[in-house]
Amino acid sequence: MLTSDKIAILVLMIFSLQIFSSCTVEDNYIYEIKEQTILPVNSEKDKDKSNVQYISILYTNLFRKAMSPNDMLDALRAIESIGDKQIAFDILVSKYMNSDEVVLPTEEEMREDPEKFIRDTYKRFFVRQPTQAELTWMINYINSRPEVNPEHFYFAFATSNEHFHY
Protein backbone atom coordinates (compact mmCIF):
# COMPACT_ATOMS: atom_id res chain seq x y z
CA MET A 1 0.00 0.00 0.00
CA LEU A 2 1.33 3.44 -0.84
CA THR A 3 1.25 5.88 1.91
CA SER A 4 0.14 9.41 1.28
CA ASP A 5 3.78 10.59 1.78
CA LYS A 6 5.01 8.26 -0.91
CA ILE A 7 2.32 9.44 -3.26
CA ALA A 8 3.29 13.02 -2.60
CA ILE A 9 6.95 12.26 -3.30
CA LEU A 10 6.06 10.50 -6.56
CA VAL A 11 3.95 13.41 -7.74
CA LEU A 12 6.74 15.80 -6.84
CA MET A 13 9.27 13.73 -8.80
CA ILE A 14 7.07 13.62 -11.89
CA PHE A 15 6.47 17.37 -11.70
CA SER A 16 10.20 18.05 -11.26
CA LEU A 17 11.01 15.86 -14.22
CA GLN A 18 8.60 17.84 -16.38
CA ILE A 19 10.12 21.13 -15.26
CA PHE A 20 13.67 20.01 -15.97
CA SER A 21 12.77 18.51 -19.27
CA SER A 22 10.97 21.73 -20.38
CA CYS A 23 14.12 23.76 -19.69
CA THR A 24 16.24 21.76 -22.13
CA VAL A 25 17.81 24.12 -24.77
CA GLU A 26 16.75 23.12 -28.24
CA ASP A 27 18.65 23.84 -31.53
CA ASN A 28 17.55 27.14 -32.99
CA TYR A 29 16.59 26.66 -36.65
CA ILE A 30 16.31 29.71 -38.93
CA TYR A 31 14.67 29.12 -42.24
CA GLU A 32 15.79 31.52 -45.06
CA ILE A 33 14.85 31.90 -48.72
CA LYS A 34 17.68 31.54 -51.21
CA GLU A 35 17.86 34.56 -53.50
CA GLN A 36 16.59 33.87 -56.97
CA THR A 37 16.73 36.18 -59.96
CA ILE A 38 13.40 36.06 -61.70
CA LEU A 39 13.83 36.63 -65.41
CA PRO A 40 11.18 37.10 -68.05
CA VAL A 41 10.34 33.98 -70.03
CA ASN A 42 12.03 35.41 -73.11
CA SER A 43 15.23 36.48 -71.36
CA GLU A 44 17.35 33.78 -72.95
CA LYS A 45 16.73 35.21 -76.39
CA ASP A 46 19.75 37.46 -76.37
CA LYS A 47 21.18 36.93 -79.85
CA ASP A 48 20.21 38.80 -83.02
CA LYS A 49 18.98 36.72 -85.88
CA SER A 50 20.92 37.34 -89.07
CA ASN A 51 18.89 38.86 -91.87
CA VAL A 52 18.89 35.48 -93.60
CA GLN A 53 17.56 33.76 -90.48
CA TYR A 54 14.96 36.44 -89.90
CA ILE A 55 13.66 36.40 -93.48
CA SER A 56 13.65 32.62 -93.64
CA ILE A 57 11.71 32.22 -90.39
CA LEU A 58 9.37 35.08 -91.22
CA TYR A 59 8.53 33.60 -94.60
CA THR A 60 7.91 30.17 -93.12
CA ASN A 61 5.71 31.61 -90.38
CA LEU A 62 3.60 33.51 -92.87
CA PHE A 63 3.46 31.11 -95.80
CA ARG A 64 4.04 27.78 -94.02
CA LYS A 65 6.57 26.77 -96.61
CA ALA A 66 10.24 27.42 -97.21
CA MET A 67 11.52 30.24 -99.35
CA SER A 68 13.42 29.44 -102.53
CA PRO A 69 17.14 30.30 -102.50
CA ASN A 70 16.74 32.87 -105.29
CA ASP A 71 13.91 34.61 -103.49
CA MET A 72 15.95 34.56 -100.31
CA LEU A 73 18.89 36.25 -102.02
CA ASP A 74 16.70 38.98 -103.46
CA ALA A 75 14.87 39.51 -100.18
CA LEU A 76 18.21 39.79 -98.41
CA ARG A 77 19.43 42.40 -100.90
CA ALA A 78 16.22 44.37 -100.57
CA ILE A 79 16.53 44.40 -96.78
CA GLU A 80 20.17 45.48 -96.91
CA SER A 81 19.32 48.37 -99.20
CA ILE A 82 17.37 50.19 -96.48
CA GLY A 83 19.27 51.37 -93.42
CA ASP A 84 16.44 51.35 -90.87
CA LYS A 85 15.65 47.67 -90.50
CA GLN A 86 12.36 48.28 -88.71
CA ILE A 87 11.14 50.12 -91.80
CA ALA A 88 12.60 47.50 -94.13
CA PHE A 89 10.92 44.66 -92.22
CA ASP A 90 7.63 46.57 -92.07
CA ILE A 91 7.65 47.01 -95.84
CA LEU A 92 8.62 43.38 -96.41
CA VAL A 93 5.80 42.09 -94.20
CA SER A 94 3.37 44.57 -95.79
CA LYS A 95 4.33 43.16 -99.16
CA TYR A 96 3.86 39.57 -98.02
CA MET A 97 0.50 40.43 -96.45
CA ASN A 98 -0.68 41.40 -99.91
CA SER A 99 -0.20 37.84 -101.08
CA ASP A 100 -3.11 35.40 -101.26
CA GLU A 101 -0.76 32.68 -100.13
CA VAL A 102 -0.27 34.00 -96.60
CA VAL A 103 -1.80 31.54 -94.14
CA LEU A 104 -3.78 33.48 -91.53
CA PRO A 105 -6.46 32.36 -89.08
CA THR A 106 -9.84 33.87 -89.84
CA GLU A 107 -11.31 36.62 -87.70
CA GLU A 108 -14.12 34.23 -86.70
CA GLU A 109 -11.58 31.74 -85.40
CA MET A 110 -9.84 34.47 -83.46
CA ARG A 111 -13.02 35.73 -81.81
CA GLU A 112 -14.51 32.30 -81.13
CA ASP A 113 -11.52 31.22 -79.08
CA PRO A 114 -9.18 34.17 -78.38
CA GLU A 115 -7.05 32.19 -75.95
CA LYS A 116 -6.29 29.51 -78.50
CA PHE A 117 -5.53 32.18 -81.12
CA ILE A 118 -3.12 33.97 -78.79
CA ARG A 119 -1.42 30.78 -77.63
CA ASP A 120 -1.00 29.62 -81.23
CA THR A 121 0.39 33.00 -82.29
CA TYR A 122 2.92 33.10 -79.46
CA LYS A 123 3.98 29.59 -80.28
CA ARG A 124 4.27 30.31 -83.99
CA PHE A 125 6.33 33.50 -83.72
CA PHE A 126 8.01 33.32 -80.31
CA VAL A 127 8.24 29.54 -79.87
CA ARG A 128 6.84 29.79 -76.34
CA GLN A 129 3.59 30.07 -74.44
CA PRO A 130 2.39 33.50 -73.31
CA THR A 131 2.57 34.38 -69.64
CA GLN A 132 -0.73 34.82 -67.84
CA ALA A 133 -0.27 38.60 -67.97
CA GLU A 134 0.38 38.52 -71.70
CA LEU A 135 -2.56 36.25 -72.29
CA THR A 136 -4.88 38.47 -70.28
CA TRP A 137 -3.76 41.63 -72.06
CA MET A 138 -4.15 40.06 -75.49
CA ILE A 139 -7.59 38.60 -74.79
CA ASN A 140 -8.76 41.92 -73.37
CA TYR A 141 -7.41 43.65 -76.46
CA ILE A 142 -9.31 41.35 -78.77
CA ASN A 143 -12.50 41.73 -76.78
CA SER A 144 -12.26 45.50 -76.52
CA ARG A 145 -11.24 46.28 -80.11
CA PRO A 146 -13.82 45.18 -82.66
CA GLU A 147 -11.63 46.44 -85.52
CA VAL A 148 -8.60 44.30 -84.69
CA ASN A 149 -8.03 41.27 -86.89
CA PRO A 150 -5.52 38.40 -87.06
CA GLU A 151 -3.43 40.23 -89.65
CA HIS A 152 -2.73 43.04 -87.18
CA PHE A 153 -1.48 40.49 -84.65
CA TYR A 154 0.61 38.60 -87.18
CA PHE A 155 2.14 41.84 -88.42
CA ALA A 156 2.98 43.05 -84.91
CA PHE A 157 4.44 39.71 -83.85
CA ALA A 158 6.45 39.34 -87.07
CA THR A 159 8.03 42.79 -86.71
CA SER A 160 8.55 42.75 -82.95
CA ASN A 161 11.92 42.77 -81.22
CA GLU A 162 11.45 39.30 -79.73
CA HIS A 163 10.87 37.79 -83.17
CA PHE A 164 14.24 39.18 -84.26
CA HIS A 165 16.08 37.38 -81.45
CA TYR A 166 16.69 33.83 -80.45
Binding site: K45, S81, I87
Partner: protein
Protein backbone atom coordinates in the same frame (compact mmCIF):
# COMPACT_ATOMS: atom_id res chain seq x y z
CA UNK B 1 37.94 88.30 -96.80
CA UNK B 2 34.73 87.38 -98.59
CA UNK B 3 34.20 84.62 -96.09
CA UNK B 4 34.46 87.13 -93.27
CA UNK B 5 31.88 89.33 -94.93
CA UNK B 6 29.62 86.38 -95.40
CA UNK B 7 29.93 85.30 -91.79
CA UNK B 8 29.12 88.84 -90.68
CA UNK B 9 26.01 88.89 -92.86
CA UNK B 10 24.99 85.41 -91.80
CA UNK B 11 25.51 86.33 -88.17
CA UNK B 12 23.20 89.30 -88.51
CA UNK B 13 20.63 87.25 -90.37
CA UNK B 14 20.59 84.42 -87.91
CA UNK B 15 20.54 86.83 -84.98
CA UNK B 16 19.72 85.08 -81.77
CA UNK B 17 20.78 81.70 -83.08
CA UNK B 18 24.29 82.39 -81.90
CA UNK B 19 25.39 81.12 -78.55
CA UNK B 20 21.89 80.59 -77.24
CA UNK B 21 21.84 77.35 -75.31
CA UNK B 22 18.73 75.29 -75.74
CA UNK B 23 17.47 71.80 -75.20
CA UNK B 24 17.60 69.63 -78.29
CA UNK B 25 14.78 67.25 -79.18
CA UNK B 26 17.20 64.52 -78.15
CA UNK B 27 17.29 66.05 -74.68
CA UNK B 28 20.90 67.14 -74.90
CA UNK B 29 21.92 70.58 -73.86
CA UNK B 30 23.40 72.28 -76.84
CA UNK B 31 25.06 75.59 -77.46
CA UNK B 32 25.43 76.50 -81.10
CA UNK B 33 28.65 78.39 -81.28
CA UNK B 34 28.77 79.62 -84.84
CA UNK B 35 26.15 80.54 -87.41
CA UNK B 36 25.27 78.08 -90.12
CA UNK B 37 26.82 78.82 -93.49
CA UNK B 38 24.12 76.89 -95.36
CA UNK B 39 20.91 75.03 -94.58
CA UNK B 40 21.84 71.97 -96.63
CA UNK B 41 24.97 70.09 -97.65
CA UNK B 42 25.37 67.53 -100.42
CA UNK B 43 28.61 65.57 -100.36
CA UNK B 44 29.59 63.53 -103.43
CA UNK B 45 32.11 60.76 -102.89
CA UNK B 46 33.53 60.75 -106.41
CA UNK B 47 33.63 58.09 -107.81
CA UNK B 48 35.58 54.89 -107.22
CA UNK B 49 39.23 55.97 -107.25
CA UNK B 50 40.25 58.84 -109.53
CA UNK B 51 43.71 59.49 -110.94
CA UNK B 52 44.72 63.11 -110.62
CA UNK B 53 46.21 62.82 -114.12
CA UNK B 54 42.83 62.43 -115.83
CA UNK B 55 41.01 64.72 -113.39
CA UNK B 56 42.39 68.07 -112.26
CA UNK B 57 45.62 67.68 -114.22
CA UNK B 58 43.57 67.21 -117.42
CA UNK B 59 46.13 64.99 -119.09
CA UNK B 60 43.60 62.68 -120.77
CA UNK B 61 45.85 60.08 -122.46
CA UNK B 62 49.12 61.91 -121.93
CA UNK B 63 49.41 60.94 -118.31
CA UNK B 64 48.64 57.28 -118.77
CA UNK B 65 48.94 55.81 -122.27
CA UNK B 66 52.02 57.50 -123.63
CA UNK B 67 49.91 59.39 -126.14
CA UNK B 68 50.44 63.11 -126.37
CA UNK B 69 46.80 64.09 -126.08
CA UNK B 70 45.69 66.25 -123.19
CA UNK B 71 42.34 67.77 -122.32
CA UNK B 72 39.55 68.16 -119.80
CA UNK B 73 36.82 65.53 -119.80
CA UNK B 74 35.21 66.95 -116.62
CA UNK B 75 34.02 70.27 -118.00
CA UNK B 76 31.03 70.66 -115.67
CA UNK B 77 33.43 70.72 -112.76
CA UNK B 78 36.71 72.00 -114.13
CA UNK B 79 37.83 74.80 -116.39
CA UNK B 80 39.71 73.59 -119.46
CA UNK B 81 39.36 72.63 -123.09
CA UNK B 82 38.25 69.13 -123.99
CA UNK B 83 40.61 66.78 -125.86
CA UNK B 84 40.57 67.15 -129.61
CA UNK B 85 41.76 63.74 -130.68
CA UNK B 86 41.07 60.10 -129.85
CA UNK B 87 37.70 60.89 -128.29
CA UNK B 88 36.61 57.75 -126.47
CA UNK B 89 34.89 59.03 -123.35
CA UNK B 90 31.48 60.10 -124.67
CA UNK B 91 28.47 58.24 -125.95
CA UNK B 92 28.98 55.50 -128.48
CA UNK B 93 28.56 56.13 -132.18
CA UNK B 94 26.45 53.09 -132.84
CA UNK B 95 26.11 53.65 -136.58
CA UNK B 96 29.82 53.77 -137.15
CA UNK B 97 30.67 51.47 -134.27
CA UNK B 98 32.95 53.97 -132.55
CA UNK B 99 33.13 53.62 -128.78
CA UNK B 100 32.65 56.86 -126.82
CA UNK B 101 32.79 59.08 -129.89
CA UNK B 102 30.31 61.75 -128.85
CA UNK B 103 31.16 63.82 -125.75
CA UNK B 104 28.17 64.55 -123.54
CA UNK B 105 26.89 68.11 -123.69
CA UNK B 106 27.83 70.22 -120.71
CA UNK B 107 25.07 70.90 -118.20
CA UNK B 108 26.54 73.85 -116.32
CA UNK B 109 27.27 77.03 -118.21
CA UNK B 110 29.78 77.93 -115.52
CA UNK B 111 31.98 75.10 -114.28
CA UNK B 112 31.85 74.47 -110.54
CA UNK B 113 35.50 75.47 -110.30
CA UNK B 114 34.45 79.02 -111.18
CA UNK B 115 31.39 78.90 -108.92
CA UNK B 116 33.30 77.71 -105.88
CA UNK B 117 36.66 76.81 -104.38
CA UNK B 118 38.99 74.09 -105.63
CA UNK B 119 41.67 72.38 -103.58
CA UNK B 120 43.47 70.73 -106.49
CA UNK B 121 46.04 68.79 -104.48
CA UNK B 122 44.70 67.11 -101.36
CA UNK B 123 46.27 64.22 -99.46
CA UNK B 124 44.73 60.90 -98.65
CA UNK B 125 47.28 60.70 -95.91
CA UNK B 126 47.05 57.34 -94.20
CA UNK B 127 46.01 53.74 -94.62
CA UNK B 128 45.58 51.76 -97.78
CA UNK B 129 43.72 53.20 -100.73
CA UNK B 130 40.74 50.87 -100.42
CA UNK B 131 37.24 51.99 -101.23
CA UNK B 132 35.76 51.26 -97.82
CA UNK B 133 38.66 52.93 -96.05
CA UNK B 134 38.27 55.96 -98.29
CA UNK B 135 34.52 56.15 -97.84
CA UNK B 136 34.88 55.78 -94.06
CA UNK B 137 37.42 58.60 -94.03
CA UNK B 138 35.08 60.76 -96.06
CA UNK B 139 32.13 60.36 -93.70
CA UNK B 140 33.96 60.18 -90.35
CA UNK B 141 37.08 62.36 -90.63
CA UNK B 142 39.31 59.51 -89.56
CA UNK B 143 41.51 56.88 -91.18
CA UNK B 144 41.19 53.15 -90.68
CA UNK B 145 44.54 51.60 -91.64
CA UNK B 146 43.76 48.26 -89.97
CA UNK B 147 40.03 47.97 -90.47
CA UNK B 148 38.60 45.46 -92.90
CA UNK B 149 35.23 45.23 -94.57
CA UNK B 150 32.10 44.25 -92.67
CA UNK B 151 32.94 46.53 -89.76
CA UNK B 152 31.34 49.84 -89.10
CA UNK B 153 33.66 52.82 -88.72
CA UNK B 154 34.94 52.95 -85.16
CA UNK B 155 34.83 56.76 -85.09
CA UNK B 156 31.51 58.61 -85.34
CA UNK B 157 30.25 59.62 -88.74
CA UNK B 158 29.16 63.12 -89.63
CA UNK B 159 25.55 61.89 -89.41
CA UNK B 160 26.02 61.02 -85.75
CA UNK B 161 27.72 64.32 -84.95
CA UNK B 162 24.89 66.22 -86.58
CA UNK B 163 22.11 64.25 -84.95
CA UNK B 164 23.72 64.38 -81.53
CA UNK B 165 25.14 67.90 -81.46
CA UNK B 166 22.88 69.78 -83.86
CA UNK B 167 19.68 67.91 -83.04
CA UNK B 168 18.98 66.80 -86.61
CA UNK B 169 16.27 64.23 -87.24
CA UNK B 170 17.08 60.89 -88.83
CA UNK B 171 15.43 61.98 -92.07
CA UNK B 172 17.66 65.07 -92.09
CA UNK B 173 20.63 62.78 -92.79
CA UNK B 174 20.92 60.42 -95.76
CA UNK B 175 23.59 58.21 -97.27
CA UNK B 176 22.57 57.24 -100.80
CA UNK B 177 24.77 54.34 -101.82
CA UNK B 178 25.79 53.17 -105.25
CA UNK B 179 24.90 49.66 -104.06
CA UNK B 180 25.09 47.33 -101.10
CA UNK B 181 28.51 45.86 -101.96
CA UNK B 182 31.75 46.84 -100.26
CA UNK B 183 30.04 47.22 -96.88
CA UNK B 184 28.35 50.45 -97.98
CA UNK B 185 25.31 49.80 -95.76
CA UNK B 186 27.66 50.15 -92.78
CA UNK B 187 28.59 53.75 -93.54
CA UNK B 188 25.54 55.44 -92.02
CA UNK B 189 26.76 55.16 -88.44
CA UNK B 190 29.69 53.98 -86.37
CA UNK B 191 30.00 51.53 -83.52
CA UNK B 192 31.24 54.22 -81.17
CA UNK B 193 29.63 53.75 -77.73
CA UNK B 194 28.90 57.47 -77.29
CA UNK B 195 27.29 57.80 -80.70
CA UNK B 196 26.26 54.80 -82.85
CA UNK B 197 22.92 53.71 -84.24
CA UNK B 198 20.84 56.04 -82.08
CA UNK B 199 22.34 58.93 -84.08
CA UNK B 200 22.70 57.18 -87.45
CA UNK B 201 21.68 58.57 -90.81
CA UNK B 202 19.22 56.85 -93.09
CA UNK B 203 20.79 54.64 -95.74
CA UNK B 204 19.34 53.84 -99.13
CA UNK B 205 20.80 51.89 -102.05
CA UNK B 206 18.13 52.88 -104.57
CA UNK B 207 19.23 50.66 -107.43
CA UNK B 208 18.58 47.69 -105.15
CA UNK B 209 15.53 49.03 -103.33
CA UNK B 210 13.83 50.00 -106.57
CA UNK B 211 15.60 47.45 -108.78
CA UNK B 212 14.81 43.76 -109.21
CA UNK B 213 15.20 42.74 -105.53
CA UNK B 214 12.96 45.53 -104.27
CA UNK B 215 10.44 45.07 -107.05
CA UNK B 216 10.06 41.46 -106.03
CA UNK B 217 9.91 41.96 -102.26
CA UNK B 218 8.78 45.56 -101.68
CA UNK B 219 6.82 46.85 -104.65
CA UNK B 220 3.03 47.11 -104.17
CA UNK B 221 3.37 46.55 -100.44
CA UNK B 222 0.08 46.77 -98.62
CA UNK B 223 -1.13 50.25 -97.85
CA UNK B 224 -2.25 50.09 -94.23
CA UNK B 225 -4.22 53.02 -92.96
CA UNK B 226 -1.91 55.16 -90.80
CA UNK B 227 -4.52 56.03 -88.19
CA UNK B 228 -6.35 52.75 -87.86
CA UNK B 229 -4.25 49.77 -88.96
CA UNK B 230 -0.90 51.26 -88.00
CA UNK B 231 -2.18 52.45 -84.68
CA UNK B 232 -3.34 48.94 -83.81
CA UNK B 233 -0.16 47.32 -85.06
CA UNK B 234 1.96 49.76 -83.06
CA UNK B 235 -0.11 49.22 -79.91
CA UNK B 236 0.30 45.45 -80.07
CA UNK B 237 3.96 45.73 -81.07
CA UNK B 238 4.70 48.17 -78.26
CA UNK B 239 3.17 45.75 -75.79
CA UNK B 240 5.29 42.92 -77.17
CA UNK B 241 8.43 45.07 -77.18
CA UNK B 242 7.80 46.23 -73.63
CA UNK B 243 7.74 42.59 -72.60
CA UNK B 244 11.10 42.09 -74.29
CA UNK B 245 13.03 44.49 -72.21
CA UNK B 246 16.63 43.35 -72.41
CA UNK B 247 18.73 46.42 -73.03
CA UNK B 248 19.77 47.03 -76.60
CA UNK B 249 18.03 43.95 -77.96
CA UNK B 250 15.91 45.44 -80.66
CA UNK B 251 15.55 45.39 -84.39
CA UNK B 252 18.41 47.62 -85.57
CA UNK B 253 16.43 50.72 -86.37
CA UNK B 254 17.65 54.30 -86.63
CA UNK B 255 15.28 56.05 -84.25
CA UNK B 256 13.16 57.51 -86.98
CA UNK B 257 10.01 58.80 -85.32
CA UNK B 258 6.71 57.10 -86.26
CA UNK B 259 6.01 60.10 -88.49
CA UNK B 260 9.38 59.70 -90.18
CA UNK B 261 8.79 55.98 -90.60
CA UNK B 262 5.50 56.75 -92.32
CA UNK B 263 7.25 59.35 -94.47
CA UNK B 264 9.95 56.90 -95.58
CA UNK B 265 7.41 54.20 -96.37
CA UNK B 266 5.42 56.68 -98.43
CA UNK B 267 8.60 57.75 -100.21
CA UNK B 268 9.28 54.13 -101.12
CA UNK B 269 5.72 53.74 -102.39
CA UNK B 270 5.98 57.04 -104.30
CA UNK B 271 9.22 55.93 -105.92
CA UNK B 272 7.80 52.62 -107.05
CA UNK B 273 5.01 54.55 -108.76
CA UNK B 274 7.65 56.63 -110.50
CA UNK B 275 9.56 53.50 -111.49
CA UNK B 276 6.39 52.02 -112.98
CA UNK B 277 5.62 55.19 -114.91
CA UNK B 278 9.26 55.58 -115.94
CA UNK B 279 9.33 59.07 -114.44
CA UNK B 280 12.26 58.90 -112.03
CA UNK B 281 14.36 62.02 -112.43
CA UNK B 282 17.52 61.09 -114.28
CA UNK B 283 20.40 62.98 -115.86
CA UNK B 284 20.12 63.49 -119.64
CA UNK B 285 22.62 60.67 -120.13
CA UNK B 286 22.03 57.88 -117.65
CA UNK B 287 23.69 54.82 -119.08
CA UNK B 288 25.56 53.69 -115.97
CA UNK B 289 24.74 52.97 -112.33
CA UNK B 290 26.32 56.17 -111.01
CA UNK B 291 24.02 58.38 -113.07
CA UNK B 292 20.94 56.45 -112.02
CA UNK B 293 22.07 56.70 -108.38
CA UNK B 294 22.41 60.46 -108.82
CA UNK B 295 18.84 60.55 -110.16
CA UNK B 296 17.52 58.80 -107.07
CA UNK B 297 19.61 61.08 -104.86
CA UNK B 298 17.79 64.02 -106.45
CA UNK B 299 14.49 62.28 -105.65
CA UNK B 300 15.56 61.99 -102.00
CA UNK B 301 16.53 65.66 -101.99
CA UNK B 302 13.19 66.67 -103.45
CA UNK B 303 11.14 64.53 -101.07
CA UNK B 304 12.94 65.05 -97.77
CA UNK B 305 15.01 68.20 -98.32
CA UNK B 306 17.57 66.70 -95.93
CA UNK B 307 20.17 68.76 -94.13
CA UNK B 308 22.90 66.40 -95.28
CA UNK B 309 22.92 63.97 -98.15
CA UNK B 310 26.00 61.92 -98.98
CA UNK B 311 26.02 60.08 -102.29
CA UNK B 312 28.75 57.72 -103.38
CA UNK B 313 29.59 56.94 -106.97
CA UNK B 314 31.72 54.00 -107.95
CA UNK B 315 31.62 53.21 -111.65
CA UNK B 316 35.05 54.52 -112.54
CA UNK B 317 36.53 51.67 -110.56
CA UNK B 318 36.21 49.74 -113.81
CA UNK B 319 39.68 51.21 -114.38
CA UNK B 320 41.09 48.00 -112.88
CA UNK B 321 40.50 46.32 -116.23
CA UNK B 322 39.21 48.83 -118.82
CA UNK B 323 40.78 52.26 -119.19
CA UNK B 324 38.37 53.35 -121.91
CA UNK B 325 35.40 52.56 -119.69
CA UNK B 326 37.14 54.46 -116.90
CA UNK B 327 37.34 57.58 -119.07
CA UNK B 328 33.71 57.19 -120.06
CA UNK B 329 32.58 56.84 -116.46
CA UNK B 330 34.76 59.71 -115.28
CA UNK B 331 33.11 61.86 -117.93
CA UNK B 332 29.72 60.60 -116.74
CA UNK B 333 30.58 61.27 -113.12
CA UNK B 334 31.18 64.88 -114.08
CA UNK B 335 27.89 64.88 -115.99
CA UNK B 336 26.14 63.54 -112.88
CA UNK B 337 27.68 66.16 -110.59
CA UNK B 338 26.66 68.92 -113.00
CA UNK B 339 23.13 67.53 -113.13
CA UNK B 340 22.98 67.24 -109.34
CA UNK B 341 24.02 70.85 -108.87
CA UNK B 342 21.52 72.05 -111.46
CA UNK B 343 18.69 70.08 -109.86
CA UNK B 344 19.55 71.35 -106.38
CA UNK B 345 19.05 74.87 -107.71
CA UNK B 346 15.56 73.83 -108.84
CA UNK B 347 14.40 72.57 -105.44
CA UNK B 348 12.54 75.23 -103.46
CA UNK B 349 14.25 75.73 -100.13
CA UNK B 350 17.53 74.24 -101.31
CA UNK B 351 18.19 76.70 -104.08
CA UNK B 352 21.04 79.06 -103.17
CA UNK B 353 21.00 77.50 -99.73
CA UNK B 354 23.01 74.33 -100.33
CA UNK B 355 26.72 73.66 -100.24
CA UNK B 356 27.99 70.86 -102.44
CA UNK B 357 31.31 69.17 -101.76
CA UNK B 358 32.97 66.76 -104.17
CA UNK B 359 35.95 64.57 -103.24
CA UNK B 360 37.29 61.25 -104.53
CA UNK B 361 37.63 58.61 -101.82
CA UNK B 362 41.23 57.99 -102.99
CA UNK B 363 43.43 58.14 -106.06
CA UNK B 364 44.88 55.43 -108.33
CA UNK B 365 48.30 54.08 -109.17
CA UNK B 366 50.90 55.94 -111.17
CA UNK B 367 51.85 52.86 -113.18
CA UNK B 368 49.48 50.59 -115.08
CA UNK B 369 48.77 46.93 -114.66
CA UNK B 370 49.21 44.64 -117.69
CA UNK B 371 45.55 44.58 -118.74
CA UNK B 372 44.79 46.29 -122.06
CA UNK B 373 41.36 47.26 -123.34
CA UNK B 374 39.91 47.42 -126.85
CA UNK B 375 41.95 50.58 -127.54
CA UNK B 376 45.09 48.83 -126.28
CA UNK B 377 45.14 51.24 -123.35
CA UNK B 378 46.45 49.98 -120.04
CA UNK B 379 44.39 49.72 -116.90
CA UNK B 380 45.23 51.07 -113.45
CA UNK B 381 44.69 49.71 -109.94
CA UNK B 382 44.85 51.48 -106.58
CA UNK B 383 47.59 49.68 -104.71
CA UNK B 384 48.70 50.00 -101.12
CA UNK B 385 51.77 52.18 -100.84
CA UNK B 386 51.52 53.79 -104.27
CA UNK B 387 51.98 57.52 -103.72
CA UNK B 388 49.69 58.41 -106.61
CA UNK B 389 46.77 56.88 -104.72
CA UNK B 390 47.26 59.56 -102.06
CA UNK B 391 46.65 62.38 -104.52
CA UNK B 392 43.05 63.60 -104.64
CA UNK B 393 41.19 66.90 -104.97
CA UNK B 394 38.32 68.59 -103.18
CA UNK B 395 35.84 71.05 -104.59
CA UNK B 396 33.03 72.93 -102.93
CA UNK B 397 30.47 75.47 -103.99
CA UNK B 398 27.55 77.16 -102.31
CA UNK B 399 26.64 80.11 -100.12
CA UNK B 400 29.63 81.70 -98.44
CA UNK B 401 32.15 79.74 -100.53
CA UNK B 402 34.54 81.94 -102.44
CA UNK B 403 34.06 81.68 -106.20
CA UNK B 404 36.92 80.98 -108.58
CA UNK B 405 39.37 80.33 -105.79
CA UNK B 406 42.10 77.72 -106.07
CA UNK B 407 44.03 76.76 -102.96
CA UNK B 408 47.23 74.76 -103.19
CA UNK B 409 48.71 72.90 -106.13
CA UNK B 410 50.90 69.91 -107.07
CA UNK B 411 53.91 71.43 -105.33
CA UNK B 412 51.90 72.69 -102.41
CA UNK B 413 49.28 70.16 -101.27
CA UNK B 414 46.64 71.74 -99.06
CA UNK B 415 43.85 69.72 -97.53
CA UNK B 416 43.31 66.20 -96.30
CA UNK B 417 40.75 63.49 -97.03
CA UNK B 418 39.69 63.69 -93.39
CA UNK B 419 38.72 67.35 -93.75
CA UNK B 420 35.17 66.86 -94.98
CA UNK B 421 33.65 65.89 -91.62
CA UNK B 422 34.93 69.02 -89.80
CA UNK B 423 34.04 71.11 -92.84
CA UNK B 424 30.41 69.94 -92.79
CA UNK B 425 30.37 70.41 -89.02
CA UNK B 426 31.65 73.94 -89.60
CA UNK B 427 28.93 74.65 -92.14
CA UNK B 428 26.29 73.57 -89.63
CA UNK B 429 27.86 75.46 -86.74
CA UNK B 430 29.02 72.52 -84.60
CA UNK B 431 32.70 72.40 -85.49
CA UNK B 432 33.83 73.06 -81.94
CA UNK B 433 31.70 70.26 -80.48
CA UNK B 434 32.99 67.83 -83.10
CA UNK B 435 36.60 68.85 -82.52
CA UNK B 436 36.10 68.65 -78.76
CA UNK B 437 34.97 65.04 -79.09
CA UNK B 438 38.55 64.30 -80.14
CA UNK B 439 37.64 61.40 -82.41
CA UNK B 440 38.88 62.65 -85.77
CA UNK B 441 42.28 62.28 -87.36
CA UNK B 442 44.92 64.69 -86.06
CA UNK B 443 45.18 66.23 -89.54
CA UNK B 444 41.44 66.80 -89.93
CA UNK B 445 40.58 70.47 -90.24
CA UNK B 446 37.71 72.43 -91.65
CA UNK B 447 38.56 73.50 -95.18
CA UNK B 448 37.45 77.00 -94.20
CA UNK B 449 40.39 77.04 -91.81
CA UNK B 450 42.73 76.11 -94.63
CA UNK B 451 41.73 79.08 -96.77
Amino acid sequence: MERRKFIKRAALATGGLISMPYILPSGLLHAQTTPQLAEHVVFVLFAGGVRQQEAVLQQYLAGSQNENIEGNIMYNMLVGEAPEDKIAYGRDDVQNNIIGAHPIDRILETPLELQGTLFPEVRFARGGAGHFNGLCTGVSGNYYPTQGLRNRPSAPTIFEYLRRHAGFKATDCWFVGHGIGGSRPLLNHSDHPDYGRRYGGNFLAPLVTFGAPGQKHFMDFKNYHPETDWEIIREIRNFLNNNFVAEGLEIPHLYNTPEEENQIREFVRHMFEKVKSNSVILPPVNDNRDLKTIGYAVEVLRYFKPKLLVVDLSDIDVCHSDFTAYLKNLHRGDHGVGFLWREIQRIPGMQDNTTMIVMPEHGRDMDPNPIQDLNDWYAYDHSAGNENTRRIFTMMAGPGIDANLKIGGPDNPIGDASDITPTIADIFGIKHQVEAAGLMDVNARSLFDRM
